[in-house]
Point group: C2
Chain length 230, copies 2
């Protein structure tokens, strides 16, 4: 394998738990106006409706929470709640980066094994750059691509730019929808390392269990072994 | 000149007027709580304080407006106002891109003249990609770099990546602070095309009028002539 590309959020470092913690607090704050089980549904609908304009990331998430709070409370939600949502967004943006198990060793091992190693991550440019800097991994990557959406055309373009054709490139990530399916469609290899925890409803998809260029690993530790077998 | 790099906002297309129009409406909405001349000052202070976490762009601007609205009204601003600020943000994000005079012809002429042409723009990844797509200029650029901050190190890196050393690269932009001073510091050339209209206070800086690698043009139309003289 010439090129090994890693996803960032929930592949190299924990990310979803930050969103879930904020969403739990959001549910508690809005409980006077909306039952928690409906609120999650309303928030998701707002997030998905806003995705085309806001993209992925914390700032868009906060704006969608505020919009949902005003909607479900019929304009009754107090400013103290809206202010707290903004402060929680800042807290999320400033949050330390916690690497997943065996990540630092594995990326270093893969690089030392002669593979070209890059990061392909979705989201807010500034936020992702800051996370990478705080992760301590920045020096391991030959290139970093922050993208607004991960589709087949994107992988073709990046695998051509950084690798030498899709058949010699592998993407390692936790999201079946973003890191696996479009890579396989582009002709590349995909290693799926599921994240332990609930998956954001918008990212859910069925893993292509029997695809010849698909592998599923329980954790990062298995990656060098898998690579050496290809 | 081997490489000609263009800034996007207020160099290739109008951008500031969108922010000023929203800010005018913001002042009108908040007038019951804060005199307009103080409000601008309070908003700028909030924006600058949030820049490190939010970066540049419309979503951060909206969040800073909401934060300022709650502050200056002592929590009295109604939800209808906050909701309108979010909707105005979406309106800004979806706004058509209006090119400045002679931009399309000039970029095409420069490219046809054998220069490598790229775009270096600050801001939100998704927003900038969408604007470039709507501008109709995307095919003219050999590369597009959306960056979170423009400093000397950034220009050194991008001029090495896309050009062949700073002394054969020129940056064309409207912001003295972001497009001119750091480029000259890096050893490159800088062409300043001031935007007709007020400059965001955070971007204001004195132009280096007598620097040997600095030029000031009244509009895009003068660029091919300037390039041919170098």
């Amino acid at each position: 394998m010439k090129l090994v590309a890693f996803d960032g959020d929930d592949t190299l470092w924990h990310n979803e738990p930050l969103f879930w913690a904020t969403q739990d607090r959001f549910k508690a704050l809005l409980e006077p106006y909306c039952p928690p089980e409906h609120l999650a549904e309303r928030l998701l609908a707002t997030e998905v409706a806003n995705l085309g304009l806001f993209g992925y990331g914390i700032k868009g998430f906060v704006l969608s929470m505020i919009e949902t709070a005003i909607q479900v409370s019929d304009g009754q939600v107090p400013n103290t709640v809206i202010h707290e949502l903004i402060e929680r967004g800042k807290h999320m943006l400033a949050h330390p980066v916690h690497l997943l198990d065996q990540v630092a060793e594995t990326v270093a091992t893969v690089k030392a094994g002669g593979h070209r190693v890059i990061l392909i991550t979705k989201g807010d440019l500034m936020d992702q750059e800051a996370k990478l800097a705080r992760s301590g991994l920045a020096d391991l990557f030959a290139a970093v691509e922050v993208v607004s959406e991960k589709d087949e055309a994107l992988y073709r373009r990046l695998f051509a730019k950084h690798g030498s054709g899709c058949e010699a490139c592998v993407m390692v990530g936790n999201s079946v929808r973003s890191d696996i399916l479009p890579v396989l469609a582009a002709g590349g290899w995909a290693v799926h390392i599921p994240y332990a925890g609930p998956v954001w409803a918008h990212e859910r998809a069925e893993p292509p269990l029997h695809h010849p260029r698909y592998a599923r690993l329980d954790g990062m530790g298995g990656l060098p072994g898998w690579l050496s077998e290809q």
